[in-house]
């Protein structure tokens, strides 16, 4: 139970951070600080050189060795952090004197922390919207197959089986790469959610169909039919509500898979593209092995993805140890 609470708090914190990203991010995600290419994360201090406790502050950092990309703190200047000013959660008093880089900067001198926050919107947004879409389509098809039966049922379920046997990641890859390669961010967003829904719906449809078919034979459904409740009303008022628990579980299974799918697609250059910040784009930009070795903070999107997936797994853990299997199949 404690683990589940930990999972819930991880997810809530992430959702909150993504929702409030512009207010939390100290810098603009695309802003380039030319003097801070590959700058390391700044340390937040509470003790100054004299050993006295102060409000949290940072020392500005400056490049001291151009070739080795070594930065050092300028210990003569103390920059106290300012909280809740100008609609920003935290910022240095005068950003013009040098940016606040809590997780360092990337090869263009952009703030990794701010990009991570804004990237959460793109990455989690795609995953959540795609999951909702997959639930809707899957729920609709499953309900149709379960109520209408006959040929519709047969066709829909064979189609679902066909999609299910294919490795989801390859289907995503194929569908994405046969559409125009260069698109705007919003087009990429729409396309990715659509493609993810295509691979996600069969899981939902099969479950919903099974639930609808078995619930229809329950006494309460027969009773409802007997007092003259129509088919549609029976479905929407009685049968579909029975599958809500199942749908909730499905959502928690689909979302990690979709987060990863976004990361993988963007990583190979088929997802979001610069200058949009998403976790996959950031990983792609970090994928130069030399850069990773020297500037490990560029891998922070990997850490956030693991954190979110772990959060979801912790929430799920208690009752269904066998379920995470399904998203492993998605890469």
């Amino acid at each position: 139970m404690r683990l589940r609470a930990a999972g819930v708090s991880i997810l809530l914190a992430t959702a909150l951070a993504a929702a409030a990203a512009p207010a939390i991010a100290p810098n603009l995600p695309a802003e380039q600080f030319r003097d801070h290419l590959y700058a390391p994360p700044m340390r937040v201090h509470v003790f100054d050189d004299g050993g006295r406790i102060r409000l949290p502050f940072v020392y500005p950092i400056a490049l001291v060795d151009r070739l080795g990309r070594r930065f050092e703190e300028d210990r003569t200047q103390v920059r106290t952090l300012v909280w809740f000013a100008d609609g920003q959660l935290v910022q240095v008093a005068d950003p013009a004197d040098g940016p606040l880089l809590l997780l360092g900067a990337d090869q263009l001198g952009r703030d990794v922390f701010s990009r991570l926050l804004l990237g959460a919107r793109a990455s989690l947004g795609v995953a959540v919207v795609a999951a909702i879409l997959a639930l809707l389509v899957g729920g609709l098809f499953g309900a149709a197959a379960g109520t209408v039966g006959g040929l519709t049922d047969e066709l829909l379920m064979r189609l679902a089986d066909f999609v299910l046997v294919l490795p989801a990641l390859y289907v995503v890859l194929a569908l994405r790469s046969v559409t125009p390669l260069v698109l705007s961010s919003s087009e990429v967003f729409a396309l990715m959610t659509g493609v993810f829904a295509v691979v996600g719906w069969p899981y939902v449809a099969r479950g919903v169909r099974a639930i609808v078919v078995s619930e229809r034979r329950q006494d309460y459904a027969l009773a409802a039919r007997a007092i003259g409740v129509g088919r549609w009303r029976l479905l929407t008022r009685h049968l579909l509500p029975a599958s809500f628990g199942f749908l909730a579980v499905q959502a928690t299974l689909l979302i990690p898979g979709f987060i990863l799918a976004e990361a993988t697609l963007s990583f190979v250059g088929l997802g979001f593209a610069a200058p949009t910040a998403s976790w996959g784009v950031m990983l792609q930009e970090a994928s130069n092995i030399r850069a990773i070795a020297d500037f490990p903070w560029l891998l922070s999107p990997a850490a956030t993805i693991v954190m979110v997936v772990l959060g979801i797994n912790l929430v799920m853990r208690a009752d269904r140890a066998h379920e995470p299997l399904r998203w492993v199949g998605r890469g």
């Binding site: 490795p167 990583f267 088929l270 693991v306 140890a321």
Partner: protein, 326 residues
């Protein structure tokens, strides 16, 4: 199940597999054909005349109707001729032969490691309810299941680049020509370690979770209590009585797990420059190499279908109830 019935079952499944492979590769062919652009798109630059492009298209046979191209491909397929890759200028079958082996090696090693570690961990944690093994294993496995191969391989690449213990990419060192075969095997193994680990990590955790759950259920059964009551040592009860029952649900999902290996190896191949099928497929897709795409689809779906078949046959072997019913 009689031998003949088994043979019939096997043949039916093989026929289904072939139909699936044909459908998937035809679908891939159609998709690539419908995609905007074709193999000559990169040729269209300022300064290149339209006639040159048209000539190249004619040379590659891209100017004919899709139906004509498709019929040619199907006829070729019947003779096991998969066409030529436009990107590499070589027969698709040759390319597939090279790359499929590499992916199969990666997948086989990863799957074996994941199975051994996962099964052992699952059995160990379920059969020792007291003690530190259980919380330790379940803790490690819930973290491991959350680290997908893409991220695992990036993190391992970081480790490799910082320590120099392992090569960060590729399948072999540059200068292996003069080496004995033993040295070459060691060289490939050394290169294989990180990618295989990255693919195996979440799989081992998944198998562990499945196995420990199934094992727990089996150990709670009355026949286990009866065996313990007769004085059979715990170790023998676990391995001899409960395991044959508990391994069935795990074997039953090996087909899905294989899909996981396959998807996982895609990301790993890209990150660690492992020259496998995933990389080839990606290159083929973005360069609109139409026959190479369908060739990769054939290799991939065949691989999966056979894996599924293999897992079902294994299930049939260990589960007498299934044999009796089919």
């Amino acid at each position: 199940m009689s031998q003949r019935a088994f043979l019939r079952y096997l043949l039916r499944r093989l026929a289904f597999a072939l139909v699936l492979v044909f459908l998937v590769s035809s679908g891939a062919l159609l998709l690539t054909h419908l995609a905007p652009g074709d193999a000559t798109s990169e040729l269209r630059r300022p300064g290149v005349r339209d006639e040159t492009v048209a000539l190249e298209r004619a040379k590659l046979g891209l100017d004919r109707s899709f139906v004509a191209q498709y019929m040619d491909w199907v006829v070729g397929l019947a003779r096991l001729d998969l066409g030529r890759s436009t990107r590499y200028g070589r027969p698709v079958a040759d390319l597939l032969a090279e790359r499929t082996g590499n992916t199969a090696l990666l997948a086989a090693v990863a799957l074996s490691v994941a199975s051994v570690v996962g099964l052992w961990a699952g059995i160990a944690s379920a059969s020792r309810p007291a003690g530190f093994a259980r919380p330790l294993i379940s803790g490690v496995s819930i973290v491991a299941v959350s680290v997908p191969p893409l991220l695992a391989s990036l993190l391992l690449a970081l480790l490799a680049a910082r320590t120099g213990w392992f090569p960060v990419g590729g399948i072999s060192s540059v200068d292996t020509d003069g080496l004995s075969w033993i040295a070459r095997v060691i060289d490939v193994t050394w290169h294989l370690a990180l990618p295989a680990f990255a693919v195996a990590l979440p799989l081992a955790a998944t198998i562990d979770r499945l196995q420990s759950r199934a094992m727990e259920e089996a150990l709670g059964a009355t026949y286990v209590r009866a065996a313990v009551g007769r004085g059979i040592p715990w170790r023998r009860v676990v391995w001899g009585h409960a395991l044959p029952v508990a391994i069935r649900p795990v074997l039953g999902v090996y087909g899905i797990i294989l899909g996981g290996v396959f998807s996982g190896s895609f990301a790993v191949e890209i990150v660690t420059a492992w020259p496998g099928l995933g990389q080839l497929m990606y290159e083929a897709l973005v360069s609109r190499d139409i026959y190479l795409v369908s060739g990769c689809a054939i290799a991939g779906s065949l691989f999966l279908a056979l894996g599924n078949l293999f897992s079902d046959v294994a299930l049939l072997v260990v589960d007498p109830r299934l044999r009796a019913s089919s």
